[in-house]
């Protein structure tokens, strides 16, 4: 047997002087607030940067500043602004998730057939049919349909973000999409439907009701696949008894921990296990279509754990799919959920460490309005802190890349592969977070050495792509306006070239911080 763990305490020093081992301030971020953000921010930059996606050539900052709140509220009034509809001609060709998954299934079958054909050919003696074996080698591989769909969806998302004015609704889409994230790295099915998932389960509800978004998300094949529920089977269900398979608790845990209540809010392992049982049977119809339209959500009663189940002290009677739906409707309205969502929103839009009163206010609005996300968006706009607190957060990579594209003009180098590459290099690949908790939302995560260096590379590339730069000083007035610091003005005025001036502008603290 292995040796036991040695646990002798070997060295003890006492009487260390506390100051000698002091490591200093907790973080770099604590060393100093950015000087440029010490004063109350320009209301135009609050509207465009804290809430929106940045200025575009042609925006009049003075006009926006005169009614910044009104400008944001006007965007909220536009009916269905968040939607990306395939009915719109510029989005023609986008597939709904069922069609996207079916395309992926068909491609998988083709790939399998191609592999089998190749294997069969390899079995034949080479002298038999040299030509046909060479043909098989030269035959083009089956095109990666999932990657094509993903790229088209990415382009639709970029276009929407680049053209939004001022972009508050798109920022909300980004927030909720990250809150309820799926990852294309999970596999081909999720890669194929990650964009459709956002259009179907997130966008219709960003100004609707939280519970409706929650229900839409947890019913969606992308989420069921991403968090492994499509194969989860109640051990006492007909399928469980027959096949000897059982529960997978991944989705249940992440719904409680990430989507609703938040970690440490009082649920126990027993709640996770029991909720996982309620969710058994929530799955996607397979390629054969035995349970329903292939690629669509189905409730498979044969896989559902029968009987009543308890969650957070409440017992839910047997009710098929309705059992977990009832539970979801309840947890969407728990005070812990209101608190969790409120603190994430405040952290996103106000500051990494938002004032407790902002969080408390948002939680109160959430509870009073039964999770009305339109009311929450208005509450954010009306929050005095949003207009008084300095713009200290670093733009996350997606927001930065979109702001750069908006700044250099929507036509310059706007190819999805290029933008996707930028996002990958910055560590925020689209619809591909490292885990179900999504991408981090704090400045110290993005203000990394490698991250800043990559931003510099991107700013330089973007400056070279911009075809008609004009005078960088004029761009400074358009993009940052009167509140630009003397140092930023001077740096741009003394640039060696127009390109360098624009790159400096895209790197300026006023452009990085929001």
């Amino acid at each position: 047997m292995p040796a036991p763990t040695p646990d002798r305490e070997l060295v003890i020093f006492q009487n260390w002087s506390a100051d000698a081992i002091c490591v200093g301030p907790a973080t770099e971020a604590a060393l100093a607030l950015p000087v440029s953000n010490a004063a109350p921010p320009d209301p135009a930059l609050v509207a465009l940067n804290r809430f929106g996606l940045g200025a575009r050539p042609g925006d009049e900052l003075g006009k926006i500043a005169s009614d910044a709140r009104g400008c944001l509220k006007a965007e909220l009034k536009q009916q269905d602004l968040a939607l990306i509809s395939a009915d719109d001609s510029k989005n023609a060709g986008l597939l709904d998730s069922t069609a996207a998954i079916q395309a992926s299934m068909a491609a998988a079958a083709e790939r399998k057939a191609a592999r089998q054909e190749k294997a069969a050919l390899a079995m034949q003696p080479a002298t038999d049919a040299p030509d046909s074996s060479a043909d098989a080698k030269n035959k083009p591989v089956v095109p990666p349909v999932e990657a094509d769909i993903y790229r088209d969806e990415a382009q639709a998302r970029f276009d929407k973000a680049i053209n939004a004015a001022p972009g508050f609704v798109e920022r909300l889409v980004g927030f909720w999409s990250n809150h309820f994230c799926v990852s294309a790295a999970k596999g081909r099915i999720v890669r194929a439907c990650a964009g459709a998932f956002e259009r179907e389960a997130i966008r219709p509800f960003v100004l609707g009701r939280f519970a409706d978004m929650l229900l839409a998300v947890e019913h969606h094949p992308a989420m069921l696949f991403y968090l492994d529920n499509q194969q989860s089977i109640g051990p006492d269900s007909r399928a469980g008894k027959r096949r000897g398979r059982g529960i997978n608790e991944n989705l249940a845990r992440e719904i409680l921990e990430l989507h609703t209540l938040g970690v440490g809010s009082g649920y126990a392992q027993a709640d996770v296990t029991s909720f996982a049982g309620m969710l058994t049977g929530w799955t996607m119809a397979g390629r054969e279509g035995r349970l329903g339209e292939p690629g669509s959500f189905v409730f498979n009663a044969n896989a559902h754990q029968p009987g009543e189940a308890a969650l957070l002290g409440k017992t839910y009677p047997p009710g098929g799919m309705g059992q977990a739906e009832a539970a979801l409707n309840d947890i969407a309205r728990q005070p812990a959920t209101a608190q969790h969502i409120a603190s994430k929103l405040a952290c996103h839009f106000i500051a990494d460490e938002p004032p407790p009163r902002s969080v408390a206010h948002l939680a109160e609005v959430f509870t009073k309005t039964d999770g009305d996300l339109h009311a929450l968006a208005l509450a954010l706009i009306d929050m005095p802190e949003a207009w008084s607190m300095p713009l200290t957060k670093l733009r996350a990579p997606f927001d930065y890349v979109v702001a750069v594209r908006r700044a250099i003009g929507p036509s310059a180098g706007n190819e999805p592969q290029r933008t996707l590459r930028w996002l990958r290099a910055l560590g925020e690949p689209l619809w591909q977070p490292p885990g179900p908790n999504g991408f981090p939302d704090r400045t110290d995560n993005w203000a990394s050495a490698e991250g800043l260096k990559t931003r510099l590379d991107i700013a330089w590339q973007a400056a070279k792509q911009a075809d008609d730069i004009g005078n960088p000083d004029d761009m400074l007035s358009t993009l940052i306006g009167a509140s630009a610091s003397a140092e930023t003005r001077e740096a741009i005025a003394h640039a060696e070239s127009r390109q360098q001036g624009l790159a400096l502008l895209l790197m300026a603290p006023e452009f990085q911080r929001r």
């Binding site: 763990t5 950015p34 991107i458 700013a459 400096l504 790197m507």
Partner: protein
């Protein structure tokens, strides 16, 4: 100053603080002695998503293992037989380099290990693992950075700072001590002039961004310095795939092998959350383990003779259920493995107080019960590589952990 010394192995810092001459030369840790020319390095690989320790190093001698781990259990027979480490444990066949190092006495395993965290949230678990704090909370600094910051300011290791590999800095190495950042170069780069101008602007307006950009430019210059053909390393994959893991280790090794390169590095590999079709000797987990194995190998090769001074440790937030779940994977659990490799590791050992796998022996009847504390392993490495005292380790580096004694004897 009172000094209670039970062994001639105190920290250099403590010795310096005694005023030098009294005990100093006899008690200097090895690295500080000119004669043996030791130049210690420590590399921490964080495996995010919770590694299944029982499929990485399988207790094939435990009669209950095969039954619990089912189809994905490792086995000493069959086409993909696990590689035996001793009479009881065998490593996943996707890790031949690790097995070779183990046989050569340069790799070890601590099994049935866990941090002090006993819930099953990845994100809280990772916070605890990386922050070194006793529980989850708003952690902003990591234990590795605090270890670095606890070294004497003039000390070589402290002066050279740390290295963070990847597009963002892992929490474990975030903090006050300087940290370089590096990732495989993905984009064509501007000339030095633009960087200098932006840096100048930041120095006047935004010191936080200035510090980050300065380090990014420094690391990029160092990594480029010996690429004579000017070919930048193209990224081969993210840090959740085998090629990406191998490549990031290759680049980090190059930076760390340099005489003026960082001595301490942190990498984070993703993708270990194997709820479905985890696979055993082959499959999804095995692919990832192959990437980790490749990283060990790249460090061994890339560090050259400095490998003799190096310790690499791979840690994860917690383990996975001992019994496979309903979808031939494993759910979040507790006890798991810590993998150690490097020329300084006193290897060829699986260190474990094996708890057994009978239902009553499992933690909450579902997980491998933890019998070693991951912090003890990390403290042992920091103590013996860099001479940090138990007091600093129990107070600054891993706050409120005085009861967790450093595991000594991990280092040759």
């Amino acid at each position: 100053m009172s000094l209670l010394c039970e062994t001639p192995n105190p920290s250099r810092r403590a010795v310096l603080m005694t005023g030098g001459a009294l005990f100093a030369w006899a008690y200097l840790p090895r690295f500080a002695r000119a004669a043996d020319n030791r130049d210690p390095r420590l590399i921490v690989i964080v495996l995010r998503g919770a590694l299944d320790g029982l499929s990485t190093v399988g207790p094939v001698g435990d009669p209950d293992y095969a039954g619990l781990h089912g189809d994905i259990a490792l086995s000493l027979s069959g086409p993909n037989a696990a590689l035996p480490l001793d009479s009881f444990f065998a490593v996943n066949p996707a890790m031949p380099a690790f097995a070779r190092l183990f046989k050569a006495g340069q790799a070890a395993v601590v099994h049935a290990a866990a941090t002090g965290y006993r819930e099953r949230s990845h994100f809280d678990g990772q916070d605890v693992l990386e922050s070194g704090l006793p529980g989850p909370g708003n952690a902003t600094t990591g234990w590795l950075n605090r270890a670095l910051a606890s070294l004497p300011a003039g000390e070589k290791v402290a002066k050279l700072g740390g290295l963070a590999v990847g597009p963002s800095t892992p929490l474990v190495i975030r903090g006050a001590a300087p940290v370089l950042g590096w990732a495989p170069q993905a984009l064509p780069m501007p000339g030095d002039a633009l960087g200098a101008r932006v840096l100048d602007l930041y120095n006047h307006r935004d010191p936080v961004l200035a510090a980050a950009l300065q380090k990014g430019l420094d690391a990029s210059r160092m990594a480029m310095s010996d690429e004579l053909d000017g070919k930048a390393m193209k990224p081969r994959g993210g840090l959740d795939n085998a090629a990406g893991m191998r490549q990031s280790a290759q680049g980090a090794a190059k930076l760390m092998a340099a005489d003026d390169g960082p001595r301490i590095a942190a990498l984070a590999f993703d993708g270990w959350d194997t709820h479905v079709n985890e696979g055993g000797a082959t499959g999804r987990l095995a692919n990832l383990l192959g990437g980790l194995d490749g990283a060990f190998e790249e460090f061994e090769t890339g560090l050259g003779e400095r490998w003799q001074d190096t310790a690499v440790v791979a840690i994860t937030e917690f383990g996975r259920t001992a019994r496979i779940n309903g979808t031939v994977g494993t759910d979040h659990g507790t006890g798991t493995v810590v993998l150690l490799a490097g020329g300084v590791i006193k290897g060829g050992r699986v260190i474990a107080d094996w708890p057994g796998l009978k239902p009553a022996q499992l933690y909450e009847q579902r997980d491998l019960a933890p019998t070693s504390d991951v912090r003890a392993v990390l403290k042992g490495l920091l103590a013996d590589q860099f001479g940090l005292s138990a007091a600093v380790l129990g107070d600054k580096v891993f706050p409120d952990s005085a009861a967790v004694k450093p595991m000594r004897d991990l280092i040759v």
